[in-house]
């Protein structure tokens, strides 16, 4: 459905206002029941149309405070039994919202969600148009709450700014799965899944460190092309990179910042190559801007160093496979994480755990590994790579 404009509630919201008041009232009752450490789940179950949704809401709220673990396990087991009684029969309604698909990686996030939701018969995922306007994303989530979806999978434009509305969804008994950009309160979501920016830097640093150590370079010149420098994710990547290099006794000698676009990548790299007449390795944080970085290297006719990319676009993987440029590897930041988030939400709603783990519940937090893609293993990653 079209996203609501903030400040203009629209017919849908007005209609469901009564229902919302009803829900909030029920919520207050549910919350006070939990606070009193009462094992009875009756008031919440009465106030909501879907009993499984409300019980998982209570689970989430309870798991936030460690003292009421008895409540958690009691509710969890009841959820398990109820889902076991109708295996695969229940349709799982999920709402998905993400920022605007203004670059390849973000476009792939939504594409992968579409793919996974059409592949599962019991999934009914409503995907709203991505937006970089926080107010609009908030109203999208509010619409999901009013629609009484079973779960909301949310990749927020800004984690901190979306925390309140995520809390509201959780309070309304909806399973909230937080993707990539973390909310500021652990109470506001059931499970987090996301990439590891620090780990990206570590993977790139280890690969470069090992390659240079194998070559026997003693005091290498290592350059780094960042994305937008002011972003925390950029700082995390750089920290991981320098920490990993430090374990080899190496450090970054030149650092420049681009803006995740090909032209900015080209510009800063052209200047960088002037600043560093001789290099041994270069790590570029982002494969979207990497098109420009690689072009600048080729324009300058430089071949003496190895280059490692970041994020894992299909373009870059094809270059790695062709092995005809300085580009030898890239480190993955999975664009499949929101799709996995949808699958986790399904498990949570059905009350299932992850098959290969001993626990009966889906973990609270999942941080994905940043794998290094080289010519040797490129074929296994190429099919899940995003077109930048």
């Amino acid at each position: 459905m079209p996203p609501e404009v903030n400040g203009d509630p629209g017919p849908d919201l007005v209609h469901s206002l009564g229902r919302r008041t009803f829900l909030v009232g029920g919520l207050a009752a549910a919350t006070s029941a939990i606070l009193a450490a009462c094992t009875s789940n009756t008031p919440a179950a009465d106030s909501s149309s879907s009993s499984s949704a409300s019980s998982s809401g209570a689970t989430t709220a309870a798991s936030g405070s460690s003292s009421s673990s008895a409540v958690t396990s009691a509710v969890e087991s009841s959820a398990l039994t109820s889902s076991a009684s109708n295996p695969e029969g229940k349709m799982v309604k999920i709402g998905f919202s993400a920022p605007a698909a203004d670059h390849g990686w973000m476009a792939a996030i939504t594409d992968n969600v579409k793919k996974v939701s059409s592949s599962m018969k019991d999934l009914q995922v409503s995907i709203v148009e991505g937006t970089n306007d926080v107010n609009q994303q908030i109203s999208q989530v509010e619409t999901f709450i009013n629609q009484k979806v079973d779960a909301i999978v949310l990749l927020p434009f800004d984690g901190a700014q979306m925390t309140d509305v995520a809390q509201k969804a959780t309070d309304a008994g909806i399973v909230v799965v937080n993707v990539d950009r973390v909310f500021s309160s652990p109470l506001s979501y059931r499970t987090y899944i996301g990439g590891d920016n620090y780990g990206m830097g570590v993977s790139a640093g280890r690969y470069i460190g090992q390659a240079l150590k194998d070559k026997g370079v003693s005091n290498p010149k290592i350059a780094e092309v960042q994305g937008i420098a002011s972003l925390p994710l950029t700082q995390d990547r750089s920290k991981g990179f320098s920490d990993a290099l430090a374990t080899f006794g190496f450090k970054v000698s030149n650092q420049v910042s681009a803006e995740f676009t090909a032209d900015s990548g080209e510009e800063v790299t052209t200047n960088l190559l002037q600043a560093a007449p001789q290099l041994d390795a270069l790590w570029n944080h982002d494969d979207d801007q990497g098109v420009g970085v690689l072009a600048a290297i080729q324009n300058a006719g430089r071949k003496e160093f190895i280059m490692v990319g970041g994020a894992g676009s299909a373009n870059v993987m094809r270059d790695i496979k062709a092995d005809n440029s300085v580009l030898k590897a890239t480190v993955i930041y999975p664009s499949t994480q929101a799709a996995s988030g949808v699958l986790l939400a399904r498990l949570l709603v059905l009350g299932k755990g992850m098959a290969d783990l001993k626990e009966q519940e889906v973990p609270k937090s999942l941080t994905l590994y940043s794998a290094v893609v080289t010519k040797a293993n490129v074929d296994t990653y190429l099919k899940s790579a995003f077109e930048s």
Binding site: A262, N271, D288
Partner: protein, 357 residues
């Protein structure tokens, strides 16, 4: 380019005289006057004394802090090459701003041109075609988009700020639709090889810029088109009374801007070897900044190509010096802001001194 049909009912003689009155009286750059001192101040260097000082200071800082890497032939080529795209856009922007307008859509138009032309290049049908097709498409798309801007601004009429703001959004959207938000990599190496190569040690990109700048300088200073641009920007009513078809001229200015966007798109997509809706972000502000510190009045009617070129070079050298010294982009942004203020202050002081004499 300079032939404007005289509106019916106006005598030819009267038109010419009035036009010159309008052009000379209100807008055109100060003509050289008698006296050695004055002729220095009204020479290209003299009129831009503030800018030249800023540029020289930057170059000195570069030589002191990174002499071994700054003062080399290859670094000079780098500085010039990186000035080229903003440079070409700024030449077009100089015309538009002198003509009393503004164009906020240039960044998006560049993106649209790169996407449209690289789509043609990556289509199978055009696989056999040579790179000149990419160039042709980019230039035509640029001029077409400029024409759309121009028609609505001149004949709508819609205020340029609003119209180009609308085009800025729409062109970017169209570029995203065409490219499906993907980066289109050019596989035709001939295109890249030509536009990133060099002739007699001078990068092709720099030659293109020099040509654009030269044509721009001649058009602005030595043709009727240029005089009319000053007249239209300085006082549109007087220009209209003088027999200039103000609306037609305004429209042509935006077509010219579009042409520059097309050329800039060719240069940037050759350099990045790609077309993408994300190219060209913020180019409108870069080029407006270069034009304004180059001494062109935002209110129109006054400005020079030489000032614009020095403005562009200042930003390029600044970038280069900061990177050579391994300083971060935040510091660079602060310096950029400071330089805009200092250059404009020096510029105004120089202008006032000149007036007092």
């Amino acid at each position: 380019m300079s032939i404007t049909p005289t509106p019916p009912g106006r005598g030819d003689t009267a038109t010419v005289t009035a036009e010159e009155v309008a052009a000379g009286g209100i807008g055109s750059p100060p003509e050289p006057r008698q006296g050695a001192r004055r002729s220095f101040l009204s020479s290209p260097v003299g009129r831009h004394v503030g800018l030249v000082i800023a540029l020289v200071v930057l170059v000195v800082i570069g030589m002191v802090t990174a002499g071994d890497r700054f003062a080399t032939g290859s670094n000079l080529r780098t500085v010039l090459t990186l000035a080229v795209v903003t440079g070409v856009l700024s030449i077009g922007m100089t015309f538009v701003i002198i003509g009393g307008g503004i164009d906020l859509s240039v960044g998006s138009l560049v993106a649209l041109c790169t996407v449209w032309s690289t789509t043609v290049a990556t289509q199978e049908m055009a696989g056999k075609s040579t790179w000149w097709l990419i160039v042709l498409v980019a230039v035509l798309v640029g001029m077409g988009s400029g024409l759309v801007n121009g028609i609505f601004i001149a004949y709508g009429p819609i205020v340029p700020f609003i119209m180009t703001l609308a085009t800025m959004a729409a062109a970017k959207g169209l570029a995203e639709v065409i490219s499906q938000k993907k980066t289109q990599v050019i596989r035709d190496t001939g295109y890249r090889d030509f536009f990133t190569g060099s002739v007699l040690g001078i990068p092709t990109q720099v030659i293109v810029f020099v040509l654009v700048a030269a044509v721009g300088w001649i058009a602005l200073n030595r043709t009727t088109f240029g005089r009319r641009t000053y007249a239209v920007g300085g006082n549109p009513e007087a220009a209209r009374l003088a027999g200039i078809d103000v609306r037609r001229h305004t429209m042509l200015l935006y077509v010219l801007m579009g042409l520059c966007c097309g050329i800039a798109a060719v240069l940037i997509s050759a350099r990045t070897n790609s077309g993408s809706s994300n190219l060209g972000l913020g180019y409108e502000l870069d080029s407006i900044a270069a034009v304004v510190i180059g001494g062109t009045l935002l209110t129109g009617g006054r400005g020079t190509i030489v000032g614009t070129i020095i403005g562009v070079l200042i930003f390029s050298v600044l970038n280069n010096v900061f990177t050579l010294n391994n300083l971060d982009t935040s510091t660079q942004a602060i310096a950029r802001g400071a330089i805009i203020v200092i250059a404009v202050l020096l510029q105004q002081r120089a202008a006032r001194t000149e007036l007092r004499r």
